[in-house]
Symmetry: C2
Subunit: 376 residues, 2 copies
């Protein structure tokens, strides 16, 4: 059975220490017992991680590729991620810089159900960047949020997305909000003849999530916004693999910052906002745009966009979705950086337009079309 | 309605920058729109975060306490944590160093159902440290794991805990394993007249978790081991708040390392392995012991133990559970460091005893009793 591999950057004084660290990771991520008590046979031969390659990258930095058995990861995404970087996430000077699922894990976790082509087909935007206004602020009632959704869809939004901070609060409870906003977006779609998609933010206690997913589907939501840092990547996977539900997922980076902020721990930006999202089955990955209020560099954002759209997988290419810093004035620059296959989030600044929010979206659409020569 | 507060350490050049950062966090964590478009009335007066206190801690380090409304956090643990450190987790130079839930959030998230006294009552260990051998390695079949469980319970274990890497793999599927191990531990308990508790590692796809929780309960499991870093803290909360299920939760730190490893992001050790666990409702919090193969310092471990057991809350005091480095030789030292209210994990080194694993546990019990003068 084809093993999967994880490539780690190990910060170590010398090659000897790096070798010892790599062997320790191979144990830690699988059997988690001292080497001398690993049972001979299946456990030692198959389950135990195997250091496949190790070499120096730079002074004090080494690169080790360790292979693991699909038997170790089983069929749950959670356990797959647990093998990739569970306990070893607690080690100092260790970062995941690459994951190759191999054939077997790729078949167990086939990735995005829709991907770039699928999302474009759903909303009928076959060329050019997609525009996704965000329904907020938290504190508005369900009717007000639905009205912003209506105006956004009317104005030419491709995806109407709820803010990740809008969950199941008393002022706009999940079910009331989803029902009203889905109806409002549907009304706008009837009027425009287009098909803006509505992605509510999935809310609820852990034991309410299943019912809330079904509720959203039945109410007419087209997809779901999920925070894997808080709800777990397993929820993304559960939705992505459900052919009957058949709903796309947009993921939000809330709570995930510490995985990228220190270069000596966590994941490379492209791995956590690209590779892991695709393995989980997300179709659109939100991340903080360079130049906004978070400190991602243009290179880090490019790495994310590349990892989202890499034709080599895992699974179908997905849409990167940079949040923050988008404006009519910057549309040309942003299009030059991200190209066409991208979802632009339009946040709080849209609210400056008040009832004329649709005009803000239309202006953005025009600016993007001019840049890219795409037709509406 | 009593607001809750979060205290952040802000790394900033000067007081002016720190003030601006604090005001930005208050916006980011709630309305997430520019200050000038925050709607007057309820949103501005109640929902918007409020900087309550800010001052210099040290050169380049400031401490800001921001209050938020329970209306902003709603009733889901997930959204509570999202307000505490969702988007702001992605900012550089920002760490959560304290959380005060206040009366309202404390009533929405009452914390551990069992706590220290409750766990002691369940297993009948009224004095002295608790001993928890870990069932592993991954790769053994359900019968072998159940047999280790039997021998452990027979030898005097207080809690028989599964390794966090044992989930739903084909070699020992969750349901088969739980059924066999629960029966094995029950048989040992009948023979000893004691009551060792069995905590399986909760496995399954996201939409199988509910059924698996109920299955474990019906099969005779006494509690559940959960990895909040992978499954989400909401799953802990869902179990803790269920009076009919009435099962304690032990949490495992897998995947959570990046939240503590850099001092300029994430959470203080005591906050993530103590305060957040108590808010979620965990009864026992596993963390890597100082001196083991992870790099936590004695001070960081003491901070965790203090946060777990602080009589002031949130909720009932819970049991800290340091993993790694425990041995008969170190029992006296460990007891001196952690005192009596602690669960000692006994990991892979126990396997050196083979069929005599019970003797290893009995030796540990004797060493702890000698140290603390407790009676078996």
């Amino acid at each position: 059975m084809a093993r999967f591999t994880v490539t780690y950057r190990i910060f170590a004084a010398d090659q000897t220490e790096a070798n010892a660290r790599a062997e320790a990771i191979a144990l830690e991520q699988t059997v988690e017992i001292p080497r001398d008590v690993v049972p001979a046979g299946f456990v030692e031969d198959v389950i135990l991680g195997r250091v496949e390659e190790i070499g120096a990258e730079d002074e004090g930095r080494f690169r080790a590729t360790i292979s693991y058995s699909p038997e170790s990861a089983g069929f749950e995404l959670t356990q797959f991620f647990n093998v990739i970087f569970g306990n070893s996430s607690i080690q100092r000077g260790l970062r995941v810089i690459g994951i190759d699922p191999g054939k077997e894990m790729a078949s167990r976790h086939p990735g995005p159900r829709f991907g770039i082509e699928g999302i474009r087909a759903l909303c009928g935007r076959h060329e050019g960047g997609l525009i996704a206004p965000v329904l907020k602020p938290q504190g508005l009632g369900a009717d007000d949020l639905a009205q912003i959704g209506y105006l956004s869809a009317k104005g030419g939004a491709d995806i109407v997305k709820e803010d990740h901070g809008i969950m199941d609060q008393p002022m706009a409870p999940f079910r009331e909000r989803v029902e009203k906003t889905a109806a409002a977006v549907a009304r706008a779609n009837t009027e425009t003849g287009r098909h803006a998609l509505y992605f509510p933010s999935l809310a609820g206690q852990a034991d309410e999530l299943e019912a809330n997913i079904r509720f959203a589907k039945e109410a007419g939501a087209d997809g779901l916004l999920i925070m894997p840092g808080l709800l777990g990547f397993g929820v993304v996977s559960r939705i992505a693999r459900d052919a009957i539900l058949n709903m796309p997922v947009m993921t939000h980076p809330s709570f995930l910052g510490p995985y990228v902020l220190s270069p000596e721990t966590g994941f490379d930006h492209g791995v956590i906002f690209g590779t892991l999202q695709r393995l989980a089955g997300a179709d659109i990955s939100v991340f903080p745009n360079a130049g906004g209020r978070f400190g991602f560099t243009p290179e880090e954002c490019a790495q994310i966009a590349d990892a989202c759209r890499d034709g080599a997988g895992p699974g179908k290419p997905m849409l990167p979705s940079p949040g923050g810093g988008m404006s009519v004035e910057r549309a040309a620059d942003m299009a030059a950086v991200y190209g066409e296959d991208v979802v632009y989030l339009l946040g709080g600044s849209l609210l400056r337009h008040g009832e004329r929010i649709g005009e803000g979206i239309a202006a953005m659409r025009a600016a993007l079309n001019q840049t890219q020569g795409a037709k509406t």
